[in-house]
Symmetry: C2
DNA sequence: ACCAACAAGTTTCATTTGTAACTAAATCGA
DNA sequence: TCGATTTAGTTACAAATGAAACTTGTTGGT
């Protein structure tokens, strides 16, 4: 067993007691991974959609017409990601691109009737997943959690430029 | 402006009111992305470590000796990821591999003195980041959030096998 | 003892992801 | 009205990721 340098297990307690299991960025990453994986597998298997594709459908279903640039702002995804996801959805006939008269660099995107039908099918399933994940948490706890997630995001973005 | 087809925004409200902004898997993913990005950039710039590498150092700093398999279980990372991160750390002289007498397929990993020194340097900085992210939240709120993250992870894993 | 099943780690390969470079169009200033 | 800068979106390329195959070693049944 060893421990060639000290008397006790060779690792001393962390300077100010860092425990990975209780470290928020770690917990957040692991939890998000688990949830994303679950959702990704579900949508892949049932609807053959990736998460970026699903997000675009969700936003187009909510907001109606949009441009890719607006979708980037709305979903916080990279413009390359949005470009690729849009192309795939257009290809599958779920999204329609029409020229944007007021700016010929961009296009207007909207769900086709098929896309809208898919949206109406997916949305309840998405909400059901969320409900299953959130069982055991009171509305108040859920509110605290959502608030924390939003705040973490802002704080992280904020700290990025220091 | 515009809206070339109807009187109102062309998208109706979602079936049971799905709002992406309030959808937990989405919020979780976005928050985790922002936080991971922040941490990743910080450790890359200051210590030239990836997140997997940093996690291994954290666990080895906490626990002392370990095998890769144990590190996989502990960090919830893939064995390929752990293998590559270990190789890089050994290469840099931060981690030492010694043969495992009781099982010659595996090796024992531990921080070298340099690795331990780096750990002692990084840990306070990691805690400082966490503290900055968590300003504005009471200890109680933090506890709720941590509990929720753990529970979400378990629920997601649970739902994966249904 | 032996062979089948299994486990630790590594390597290979295909997919995903994001950064940077690029094209085309709009805007802004002189 | 022209050229410089900025923006929408795509393409090209490089790095990260993970599944599957592989290697080496262990274990358990007969």
């Amino acid at each position: 067993m060893a421990d060639s340098e000290g008397g006790r297990p060779s690792a001393a307690a962390a300077p100010s007691d860092l425990k990975l299991d209780d470290y928020l960025p770690y917990r957040l990453s692991v939890a998000a991974n688990a949830v994303s994986g679950l959702i990704a597998r579900a949508y892949q298997a049932r609807f053959d959609l990736t998460i970026p594709q699903w997000r675009l459908i969700a936003v187009l279903g909510e907001d109606g017409l949009s441009t890719q640039q607006a979708l980037c702002a709305r979903t916080l995804m990279d413009k390359v990601t949005v470009s690729r996801a849009s192309a795939a959805l257009v290809e599958r006939g779920l999204v329609l691109r029409t020229p944007n008269a007021s700016d010929r660099r961009s296009h207007r995107l909207a769900l086709t009737p098929e896309g809208a039908a898919l949206y109406r099918q997916i949305a309840p399933s998405a909400l059901a997943y969320e409900a299953k994940l959130l069982t055991q948490f009171s509305p108040l706890e859920q509110q605290v959690a959502m608030k924390l997630l939003r705040r973490l995001q802002l704080a992280a973005i904020d700290l990025s430029g220091d």
